[in-house]
């Protein structure tokens, strides 16, 4: 039975990583969905392309958890846009996620570059 192609098969970020990236992006300034996507792409030198099918569910999920809040505002060229901003709870969450990420990447780095015993 052939399966239909799935859009999310393109790029898979680690589970939870997208949340971290969104929170980090919003810690600089409030931003709309399209802007968040562009900033993540720019700051990763085009390496990370966030899928809209992941971005918008993530935004709405973070909003429900009250880590970010949303309000309708006007963009630079006077378009009505939904702008997300980090809440105080979100700020604490970002700190926690960052330290988690640090631990995780250190651990992975440790596995990838083991400190081998020098004497035989």
């Amino acid at each position: 039975m052939p399966r239909p192609p799935r859009f999310q098969d393109r790029i898979e970020l680690l589970q939870g990583t997208l949340d971290l990236l969104i929170l980090q992006t919003l810690s600089w300034e409030p931003q709309h969905g399209y802007g968040i996507m562009q900033m993540i792409r720019a700051h990763s030198s085009n390496a990370l392309q966030v899928d809209t099918g992941s971005l918008y569910p993530a935004l709405h999920r973070l909003e429900r958890r009250r880590w970010i809040s949303a309000e309708w505002g006007l963009s630079d060229n006077k378009q009505r846009v939904k702008v997300y901003r980090l809440t105080p709870v979100g700020k604490r969450q970002l700190a926690a996620e960052r330290s988690n990420w640090k631990k995780l990447s250190d651990a992975i780095a440790g596995v990838l570059n083991p400190a081998l015993p020098t004497d035989r």
Binding site: F7, G33, G53, Y56, P57, H60, R64, V81, K82
Partner: protein, 874 residues
């Protein structure tokens, strides 16, 4: 609901706007980079991905989104049902039948088996005590002396009570009527844990002193005493004795005999006062009481049985029938409970099987419907709907159908509350079986609905959604017609079961109509009124009883509107009642080895045969001259003459019956004593005044000129004028009484008829589902053939051909099963053979008509296929 819907719509709109803004910004940025507008729009769109999917997955993040989604699916489903009312009604009907049957059976099990004794504390710790004699025969009664000894000695039981139920004559401000009274030991209520709602229950001194006190039931208090709150201390008359009411039981309490109505309780020791000459209290060998004990905490039924057995050995003065042992049984399986236990669990099993078939049918229908929706589903999948969402939606549709079916099922269960009581044979006890539909039944039904939803919905939903997108869009091009072997087997099974059940029901219906048309051996049973009574209830001795009976029958004979009147101890064609057999010796007849020389007996009044309208075959009827002290006479029946006399002249013959010499003075026609299906047996009639012992229970037979029921009031007055405590019991016509002799056929025909209707309905639904599926799946093929010039007959054959072959196979299998079942019930058949062709033809016609009706819609749909539409690929 309005504000909520507005809220959700706004959120949807906002999400749409958010996505649109996103796209617009992407396009603007691309154009700023120098792309032309068309390319920019296309590329932005491609980069964004599937809008529907993004919208759907995002929406799933909202709180309550699931609930909201469910609500929308439900509305969508209801819209769909409105478009296909036939499918909807048929599926709901199928499930309602299955769910209703199972729910009804469960409410019965719940009411009568799981909570058999409402109001009784820890009823599961109560046990019935049986005596077992040395030969292993088990008796469910004990004697009073035995009970007293056991009550003293037991360590395993924290309480031991006895009870015995019988009818008594109750008089209170008016004529005597019947009451069902239990003689109980004084600790009965205490051991059961039942207090008094008014007044008190019985006390130990009531039993010791044989006090004339009574505790009445809530039902009697409400119906007979109009819930009089000052009832305690009032006097009533039971069997002619003044009795003081000391208490009323709580509303829920119904005694400890399952399904039996109880009006009052009196101390067991009063039996001799109420029934003069009754020595059962003091006779060690008189086993008449049901014993029930409460197991002490920590004690098991086995320990109790062992203890009672050793006690029986140690106390020779109170023997268990020739020294034996005791057995301890759950009290819920006494009397009616013993009958109901296997019956109800069997019923629940049958109902569950019906539910299973009903669910399979519903699943077939859903698969058929799914097949017609391949395009819709395909389009929605292509638009980006996830399979999980679609499966949920299809399940919600099935759920809606199952809930509707469940509501129908609940209605059936409500309607069936009293049915079980009506199905009970006349047992000589006041049967009162009304099931309660409690919380447990509702929860059970809910679980059933849920289970049914998953059972009939999941497979069709998965199957529908699994359909690949492209073939779906191309409208079933190249779709193969697969006929599952399981479904074929199911059709054959359903048709076969239906044929078998309908055939046996048909045999019983035909027996019943033969029974109704049969000559009962007497004239015009609708004009005969029967009124029973028992002189022991009036608390009179034998001499007085005989005198009262003579006065009563004389007074009834002179009533205007009465043409003739007599009485008997044993009403013919009456299921319950009658006397045992009487031993006979006939001069000149040598019994074969092992032949039992016992004949049926009835003790009757003067002009008995004339009142019945049964002409004498030979000799004369009883008359006023056949009285006590006169020549002992008897009237025999035709079978007696045929079997024992072999052509000898019966009139004037001297025979021995019950140790007396009697002269045969007449020969009467054969009548059935109890059951319509019984073989004729030798029968003897004697004049009632000549009996050695006074038969106190008699039934008056009154032939009336006009409407017999109009005479009941006058006959009641005649009773009261003879003895105020003599209750007229069960007035009914002979015609109604005869119905009890074919109650087996009647109940069998009703139950099997209902079951037959259900199986027929299910089989028809099954056929309808399979045919509908065939039409949907072969739509294009049919269109093609029509375009190539196939006639309408050809099309019909294409649709029904395979299925009708299954139908024929099912009918053949069912007929064979029916022949077997017919042989099994051949003992209950009357005037028909188990291979009755008329019943068989009835079944074949019924099934053919049902199959034709079931095919009507699918065939019409097939013949109306427009070849152009069916072939177009669009």
């Amino acid at each position: 609901m309005k504000p909520l819907r507005w809220f959700w719509r706004r959120r949807e709109e906002e999400l749409d706007e958010e996505i649109q803004t996103h796209l617009r910004m992407a396009v603007q940025e691309r154009m700023a980079r120098g792309e032309d507008p068309a390319t920019a729009a296309r590329e932005a769109r491609r980069e964004f991905g599937n809008v529907t999917r993004v919208r759907e997955t995002t929406r799933a993040m909202w709180a309550f989104a699931a609930v909201e989604q469910g609500w929308r699916d439900l509305r969508y489903a209801l819209r769909g049902f409105r478009r296909t009312p036939g499918f909807t009604v048929v599926t709901i009907a199928s499930l309602a039948v299955g769910l209703g049957g199972t729910a009804t059976a469960f409410t019965w099990v719940d009411s009568f088996l799981l909570r058999p004794f409402p109001g009784v504390r820890q009823a599961d710790r109560l046990v019935a005590i049986h005596a077992i004699d040395s030969s292993g025969q088990e008796y469910n009664r004990v004697s009073y002396p035995q009970y007293l000894a056991w009550r003293q000695a037991t360590n395993t039981l924290s309480g031991l009570v006895v009870f015995n139920m019988g009818q008594m004559s109750l008089r209170f401000e008016g004529a005597a009527e019947r009451a069902w009274v239990q003689h109980v030991s004084a600790d009965y209520f205490e051991v059961l844990g039942v207090g008094a709602a008014l007044g008190r229950t019985l006390l130990p001194e009531d039993e010791r002193q044989a006090a004339l006190v009574a505790v009445i039931s809530d039902g009697l208090w409400r119906h007979r005493f109009r819930a009089d709150s000052l009832i305690v201390g009032r006097a009533i008359t039971l069997n002619g004795q003044g009795v003081t009411i000391v208490g009323v039981t709580p509303p829920g309490f119904r005694g400890t005999m399952m399904g039996t109505r109880m009006d009052a309780w009196v101390p067991v020791t009063t039996i001799a006062t109420f029934f003069p000459g009754n020595a059962s209290l003091t006779t060690p060998g008189w086993f008449w009481l049901t014993a029930a004990g409460r197991l002490r905490v920590g004690a098991t039924a086995e320990q109790a049985a062992a203890e009672l057995a050793t006690m029986a050995e140690r106390s020779p003065g109170t023997p268990i029938r020739r020294s034996g042992t005791a057995a301890v049984r759950p009290i819920s399986q006494e009397e009616l409970g013993k009958l109901l236990h296997p019956l109800l669990f069997g019923l629940l099993g049958v109902a569950a099987a019906v539910l299973l078939v009903a669910c399979t049918n519903a699943a077939s229908l859903l698969i058929a419907r799914g097949a017609t929706r391949t395009r819709e589903i395909g389009v929605r999948l292509a638009m980006g709907a996830s399979r999980g969402r679609l499966v949920t939606q299809l399940l919600i549709e099935t759920g809606a159908i199952a809930v509707a079916g469940g509501v129908g099922g609940l209605a059936l269960a409500l309607a069936g509350r009293r049915v079980l009581g009506q199905l009970m044979p006349p047992l000589g006890v006041p049967v009162e079986l009304e099931s309660q539909i409690g919380g447990r039944s509702v929860v059970f039904l809910f679980v059933l609905v849920l289970g049914a939803t998953l059972m009939c919905g999941l497979l069709p939903a998965l199957r529908t959604v699994r359909a690949d997108i492209l073939p779906g869009l191309r409208e079933g091009l190249g779709a193969t017609v697969r006929r599952s072997r399981l479904r074929s087997g199911l059709i054959v099974g359903q048709v076969a079961t239906s044929v078998m059940v309908l055939f046996t029901a048909g045999l019983l219906v035909r027996s019943l109509s033969h029974a109704r048309a049969m000559d009962p051996g007497f004239r015009d049973p609708r004009q005969l009124l029967l009124v029973s009574t028992d002189f022991t209830l009036a608390n009179v001795d034998e001499r007085q009883g005989r005198a009262e009976l003579t006065t009563l029958i004389d007074r009834v004979r002179t009533l205007s509107g009465v043409s003739e009147a007599t009485y008997t101890t044993s009403v013919p064609m009456n299921l319950a009642g009658g006397l045992g057999g009487i031993g006979i010796r006939i001069p000149g007849y040598q019994p074969a080895a092992g032949e039992s020389m016992v004949a049926g007996q009835a003790w009757v009044g003067a002009r008995y045969f004339s009142t019945l309208g049964s002409p004498m075959v030979a000799g004369r009827d009883f008359d006023g001259g056949d009285r006590e002290g006169g020549r002992a006479v008897a009237v025999v029946n035709e079978t007696f003459v045929r079997r024992y006399l072999r052509g000898r002249e019966p009139i004037g013959l001297e025979i021995e019956a019950g140790g007396r010499q009697v002269t045969v003075i007449g020969v009467a026609k054969d009548t059935k004593a109890h059951l319509i299906s019984e073989a004729p047996e030798p029968f003897l009639h004697f004049p009632h005044p000549q009996s050695r012992q006074f038969w106190s229970g008699v039934t008056l037979i009154v032939r009336t000129v006009g409407d017999p029921t109009a005479m009941i009031a006058a006959i009641r007055r005649a009773f009261a004028s003879v003895d105020a405590d003599l209750p007229p019991l069960d007035p009914r016509t002979m015609h109604d009484n005869m119905a009890s002799s074919f109650f087996v056929q009647s109940i069998g025909a009703q139950v099997l008829g209902a079951l037959g209707a259900v199986t027929l309905l299910l089989a028809a639904i099954g056929l309808y589902a399979v045919l509908g599926q065939t039409v949907s799946q072969r739509r294009r093929e049919i269109g093609l053939r029509m375009a190539l010039g196939a006639g309408i007959h050809r099309v019909i054959r294409m649709v029904v051909g395979d299925t009708y072959r299954l139908l024929a196979l099912g009918m053949v299998v069912g007929s064979l099963m029916g022949l077997g079942a017919g042989r099994l019930i051949s003992g209950q058949l009357f005037g028909v053979r188990p291979t009755d062709l008329v019943a068989f033809a009835m079944v074949v016609v019924t099934l053919t008509v049902a199959a034709a009706i079931a095919s009507l819609v699918p065939v019409r749909r097939a013949t109306r296929i427009d070849p152009m539409t069916a072939l177009r690929l669009d």
